[in-house]
């Protein structure tokens, strides 16, 4: 994280992560098509990378992942590992974007969320949860990617508010 604004950023980030968790466990637990639903905490990691760059993206992803792990029946640290890598990847990608366009955040959220679910499943399989790599994982990843793409335009500005000192080439 950049030095200086930590006192401002940390409380805002906590607020966003816990608001995201609340929505994830209540509203978005009921909004599902088939077995697929939006993954708000993964989207927070993606939006963190979009709004804050690689370093902040990784930190936000780690925080969102730890919170997810505390409420899922999955090994503690699995979501944190996957989400921090996703946040870092998105942040690295966004720092190479030169032109701002309205469709870039949803497209990034779609691709990054799809990749995030696949990464989560792969890491899960590596630590002894082979059932995560069942055939439907591709459909789940695509569904989460589509759902998160719809939510991204609403969440990315929230993350930009939570982390006001944006990197020079952010496209938010």
């Amino acid at each position: 994280m950049e030095p200086g604004p930590l006192m401002l950023v940390a409380p805002r980030l906590l607020l966003v992560v816990f608001a995201g968790l609340t929505l994830h466990l209540s509203l978005f637990a009921t909004i599902r098509i088939g077995d697929v639903r939006p993954d708000v905490l993964l989207l927070i990691a993606v939006a963190g990378g979009i709004a804050g760059g690689p370093e902040r993206g990784a930190v936000v992803g780690f925080a969102a992942g730890i919170v997810a792990d505390l409420f899922l029946h999955t090994p503690l640290g699995l979501s944190a590992l996957a989400f921090s890598l996703v946040g870092f990847g998105v942040g690295t990608l966004q720092s190479s974007v030169i032109r701002a366009a309205w469709w870039i955040p949803p497209a990034t959220a779609c691709m990054a969320s799809t990749a995030g679910i696949l990464l989560y499943a792969l890491l899960g399989a590596l630590i002894g949860r082979p059932e995560f790599l069942e055939p439907r994982v591709l459909a789940v990843a695509a569904g989460v990617g589509a759902a998160n793409a719809i939510l991204a335009p609403a969440l990315v500005p929230v993350m930009a508010w939570a982390m006001p000192h944006e990197p020079d080439r952010s496209y938010v």
Partner: protein
Amino acid sequence: MAMSRRSARPRFTLLLLVLTAVTLLTLDERSGGLGVVGAMRDGARDAFAPVQDAADTAFRPIGDFFQGAVHYGDVEEENARLRQALAERDGELLRAEDAARERQALLDQQDLEFAGDIPTVAARVVVGPASSFDLTVQIDRGRNAGVAPGMPVVSGAGLVGRVVDVSRSRATILLITDPKSSVGVRLANSGDVGVAAGRGSRSTLRLDYVDPATKVDRGEAVVTSGLQQSVFPPGVPIGTVVAARSGAGSLQQDVTVEPAVDLRRLTFVKVLQWSPAP
């Protein structure tokens, strides 16, 4: 030089985060979900429970509206099915006394214990599956209400799953359709036993170890076997057979079972305060 140091910092931060996550994973694996890690989870769930309850109350109507809109066809179909079922029940009511006698006789014949004798804890499902992978639900009763890991969970129609994690005010239920779930079962007609395994989606179960020579009928009831060391009491309905076929040279039949409980629309469940005989 300063530029190089600056560009290396995000990677260094990522490395620290990855190492922290791997350390947590190792700790969780070593402790088996208990100890410090278990205490962290329990504390987080208990602390967040009031917020979750309030949010659930506030957002439930929106979720119901969405489910109604998305699954309008299903709702209409279910409505028609329920009307038909109600009409059939009116007729069946007349035969209820005789059916109850027959059922008791059948239970006695199959040496099944009546699940109703087991003390229960009624609970409300407060959180559906928290991710697209996670086939668990959370209920609003925990250790304080007498819920313990391993206890079976049922609804009026049959088996829902078993308790896998408990905090003071919450418990996590592993649904029978989760790939990690396997239930010892018995086919009602033949009496053959097998294992009902989850497939990872909340639709059907796969029945393993059924002899190819066994005649398995479509619509045949499947109940928990309750064999020695089984984690479920005997006679709890699991579902009905929807497909069965034997491949040439196969050592077992491919049997598919549709769960008796609609696991997509769980609202209230009962935890059976039951543990297998030692």
